[in-house]
Amino acid sequence: MLKLSNVSARYNVFDYYVNVINNVSFTVNENEIFGIAGESGCGKSTLLKVMYDFIEYPFEITSGSVELESAGANGEINKYKNGEIRNRRWREISYVPQGAMHVLNPVTKIGAQFYDTVSRHNKSVNKKELNDRIVAYLKELELPPEVMKSYPHQLSGGMKQRVMIALATFQNPALMLADEPTTALDVVVQRGILGMLSRVQKRINNSIVIVSHDLGVHYQITDRMGIMYAGEMVEIGPTDELFTNPRHPYTKMLINALPRIGDISQKEGISGTPPSLRSPPPGCRFASRCMYASELCKKLPPCKYYISGTHQASCHLLKGLYPKLQPEEAIPRD
């Protein structure tokens, strides 16, 4: 579906480079919801931009490749590499940015904006028919028809976000990328939107990548998850397995920092801050905050270990317990 192989990327600031993404490899399979979790500044939004082919100076990819595979109309498999993916936007791949509710034009009605975007991909259809289709689609997503005639400021944040998701899924793209889709919204609306995303996914059987720093959100709707820290993927695996059997110390600490209802035991946040990506440490990037860190951790970056066919983590503590994943080996599909 979408495969990232050893992708590294950096920002070119005049005097120096900021290495935001370091050697990230994973695959998003068909018909699944993949979550990317991590604290702010870890590079998850930037990773989405790489996946969406949003690469513009001063941001550049230094190594690795992104490949998007999709089934064409006649059943043939089309492959697109980075550089070509941008031509498939809104068709095979779509993107809901962070704070998407702010990207709506404040002086145009929603209906007009919707029509503007989708009419470019449906040139053969006449205006009335397209508008009818839009209204029907919005109704399916439980948005009242008055939305078409409203201006963005008349809608609540949750509604605007739902409109954005409707826009992103109207063309039935095979892959949808959502960057913090519910961060600014309260829990009830969040639940509604995540439910909507889940329903849409089940209906058209596409794949969704959700980036969020809230692990609770990941638990509720993702099938597989990747944990990012300081520009690297430290653990990838099925969501249930990650929550019940986290292997990387950072994943363990993240899960422990979650407050839960009914549980008022003392919770601890993770102390310290992520390393500067301008001059990252030579060893494991989490070593400075890790309670299990050893001298080796500070000197040598860990390699990836297989916990199971679908679960992998990068940590020196796993050496000897699990087989190593060689760099040339393909990442397994489940």
């Binding site: 409203s150 509604m159 009830v188 609306v189 969040q190 509720q220």
Partner: protein, 326 residues
């Protein structure tokens, strides 16, 4: 009534949109009453979704917005009767966005020193240094880390802690925090929320914690008030309200928290376009409520006391004895 630190009585705020003839009126805060005990510092959470009126309520208590109706009293005296500096010595705010709390063009410590000099009454530079240093210490930061730096040199979590330190300098009795952890990372939130608990115990400060995040509210509050579209729909001791939620909306809120270990079972009815909901004279939650009756759609219920320290605004709980106003 000097036994209350803060006494909010029948507070309402309405906003007028459009002109005099064609405009609409929104009751952002509708007939809210709240009390904070005097010598017993506690953390009161005001929980609600966006548009519930909690920020408007917080701004009125801070004196940044004038109420349309109702009275706010601090320590028995009306809010209007306070001089500015006197008021700032008692009440301090913490805002949601740590990056806009400080001007990007000024060094962060200027605000700390200003507070120390103007409100905490530090006459000399040495005293001001001491006061600022102490406040920063209590939030886990050092004066040397902060001195001379601009806001863009800090992370969101650090800036928010500096904001808390600034609020602590005059040793206020009440701190009003408007969504203080909304823009802070999940891993940092617990640090800040734990800080509130510690400050309540060590510095004897009461907090009003406005948020839409029920998990942190449950973890940290002594009292909790849930708001929906301008009304306080449930209010009382936090353990009672969250352990035994009465109002259907509180139940919905509790249920919608993404819990680890339990997946959501059914779907929710999402709110309609806002202007429609605000205009109604009935119970505002009725369109989404699974238990709504005709009475709910006709008129607004009154506050009922279902047990001590637990009040609900819902017809379901009205009996002759617990709702004397009916």
């Amino acid at each position: 009534m000097t036994e209350y630190l803060l006494n909010v009585e029948n507070l309402s705020k309405s906003f007028q949109f459009g002109g005099i003839f064609m405009g609409s009126k929104i009751m952002a805060v509708d007939n809210v009453s709240l009390r904070l005990p005097k010598d017993n510092p506690c953390i009161t959470s005001i929980v609600g979704e966006s548009g519930s009126g909690k920020t408007t309520l917080a701004r009125m208590i801070l004196g940044l917005l004038d109420p349309t109706f109702g009275e706010i009293s601090l320590d028995g005296r009306k809010l209007k009767g306070f001089g500015k500096k006197e008021f700032y010595r008692l009440v301090q705010p913490i805002f949601q966005n740590p990056f806009s709390t400080f001007s990007a063009r000024n060094k962060v410590d200027t605000y700390l020193y200003e507070t120390a000099r103007n409100i905490a009454g530090c006459k000399s530079a040495a005293l001001a240094d001491e006061a600022v240093g102490r406040a920063l210490d209590s939030v886990g930061l050092g004066l040397n880390q902060i001195k001379g730096k601009y806001p863009n040199q800090f992370s969101g979590g650090e800036l928010q802690r500096i904001s808390i330190a600034r609020a602590l300098i005059p040793s206020p009795k009440l701190i009003i925090a408007d969504e203080p952890v909304a823009m802070v990372d999940a891993s940092m939130r617990m640090n800040i929320v734990n800080l509130f608990k510690r400050l309540r115990d060590e510095y004897k400060v009461s907090f009003i914690y406005v948020t839409h995040d029920l998990s942190t509210a449950y973890y940290v509050s002594d009292y909790i008030a849930t708001m929906y579209r301008g009304n306080v729909i449930e209010y009382g001791n936090a353990k009672l309200v969250l352990g035994n939620p009465a109002h259907p909306y509180t139940k919905l809120l509790l249920d919608s928290i993404p819990k680890v270990g339990q997946r959501w079972s059914k779907d929710v009815v999402l709110p309609d376009i806002e202007s429609k909901e605000y205009a109604s004279e009935s119970c505002r939650f009725a369109p989404r409520c699974p238990h709504a009756t005709e009475q709910c759609r006709q008129s607004m219920p009154g506050l009922a006391e279902i047990e001590e320290n637990h009040l609900v605004l819902c017809y379901k709980y009205h009996t002759e004895k617990n709702c004397p106003s009916m």
